[in-house]
Symmetry: C2
Subunit: 298 residues, 2 copies
């Protein structure tokens, strides 16, 4: 198969666009697509200081790599969640990427901020590990981002479209109102952006493999049975039958959001009485969890 | 297992409601649910003349049976689509149901209105059989309903929720705007209602089996590979994992529709220059098809 753009031997075939590309053209288009998403939603500029949340998985490393390549001013943040047979490798991979590319990476250990690991926190709070993990990461990232202009995460099209599907099936209006490529700064909540939101997992896999980026390929052992994985399986079945649906579905929603979802009245957020983080309750979820952790160790 | 209402031996278990019921309580609640849907959307009254579209499958026979039982003034309409090894049995079953219950049933043969059967019409028009079939049925039913106050069809919750899913995934705004339990009369287009729209296929299967209603149980051979079946399979996987989702998804959409879908400006419909049926084009799709059929036989 030949590259659609330059007629060289193709190395990549994207069914959802029905296009074959050679390595060089694919990587160039990939970068261009990320930049156009950044510009379209005015996510950040070349003057901004950007904090990249880096797990050590393909998405966040791909994101960091592209942003550096595009010339943005970045720093990485890795949170070690102390998940058995998992977190140490992730940290190592993130560190290797940073040192190889001469980039600055902060590492935070969950035990230092919460006192326990995710599994234990989940047991203590009697809530699913994925929920706890998401909440803790959002909290820590926001805190660490104090002196940055924007936080970016590696959420890709598969994440966003499957998440959207789940929110629509249950008509979670609050989540739907806030599902966007960019969340503007609000009080002490930092600006958050998802520059890969229109790029599929498959495209990211091609990217990291063509650029020889070493990443941690395993699924988190604590996510077994998570509904996010269930919805991803569903959206993949749909994509397989109707290539391009993921993108049309997510893009259609984002571009025409006001047509589908009336703007939710802005949530009334107040500072947490313990830490000052903006929250809907008196005490934020992170501080509540911390209270429980402290109580359980007494 | 005991009946939740009367404590007799249960015969029905509905996972989506997590409820067990005996035959009598199930049938009573079923009837009540249909009546409440009819009233909620002001579909029709006891004074109205109602035309029931009866295929001979479980949904339409169940609907007709309930409406008669509730005391509504109904007449049946069966369209024989001349599908091999299929249509003659369907017609026979519809006729048997009518004569057994002393009800009036009109029978229309597709060859009399179109000149050919569905398979041939699909071949001539180069369009999927399901599309042609739906279009022809809508046309014929509307024509036959001239002296009725309302047309009713047996569309159930599985049909409506899977259809909704398909329309949302592709953001078909026009279809979404018109997806409703009731379509009001508009010019020569008759009022159309779906009294079973909140009742699942499983509930209907229980109903026809408990009431010993003979129905044609096979799937149409021409529907093989149809996207409606694909979306039903998808929505069933979701329901299996999260019982009650079908109902929450469809009901949530219907009840809060204006929040999700801004009202589409009413389509400008004009009478077909051939038959007078309201359409968006000069010649309606049915007449266009008929022209093609006539041309092909010359």
């Amino acid at each position: 198969m030949k590259c659609r753009r330059c007629n060289r031997e193709a190395q990549v075939y994207l069914k959802s666009y029905n296009i074959s590309l050679c390595k060089e053209c694919f990587l160039e288009l990939f970068k261009r697509k990320v930049l156009s998403t950044i510009n379209k939603f005015s996510m950040f500029s070349f003057k901004d200081k950007i904090l990249v949340a880096v797990s050590g998985g393909k998405d966040s490393l791909c994101l960091w790599d592209v942003l550096v390549d595009l010339g943005f001013n970045t720093e990485g943040l890795h949170i070690n969640l102390e998940i058995e047979n998992h977190s140490s490798s992730l940290e190592e991979i993130a560190k290797k990427f940073a040192s190889k590319n001469n980039l600055k990476l902060r590492v935070i250990n969950i035990k230092d901020v919460l006192g326990v690991d995710i599994k234990k926190a989940s047991r203590i709070s009697k809530r699913e590990p994925c929920r706890i993990c998401g909440m803790v990461k959002r909290y820590v990232i926001n805190k660490e981002a104090e002196y940055f202009d924007c936080v970016v995460t590696g959420h890709n099209l598969d994440d966003e479209s499957s998440n959207l599907l789940g929110n629509i099936l249950q008509w979670k209006k609050g989540y739907l109102g806030r599902q966007a490529p960019l969340l503007e700064e609000y009080g002490s909540l930092r600006k958050k952006a998802k520059p890969l939101c229109f790029i599929s997992e498959l495209e990211i896999l091609y990217y990291v493999s063509l650029k020889n980026i070493d990443y941690f390929p395993y699924v988190c052992p604590l996510s077994k049975g998570a509904s996010s994985l269930f919805y991803k399986n569903i959206i993949n079945q749909i994509e397989y039958r109707m290539p391009g649906t993921k993108l049309r579905f997510y893009k259609g929603f984002i571009e025409d959001k006001e047509v589908y979802i009336k703007k939710e009245s802005k949530l009334e957020l107040i500072p947490c009485q313990r830490c000052g983080y903006l929250t809907v309750n008196k005490i934020c979820n992170f501080c509540k969890l911390k209270e429980k952790v402290e109580a359980s160790s007494k």
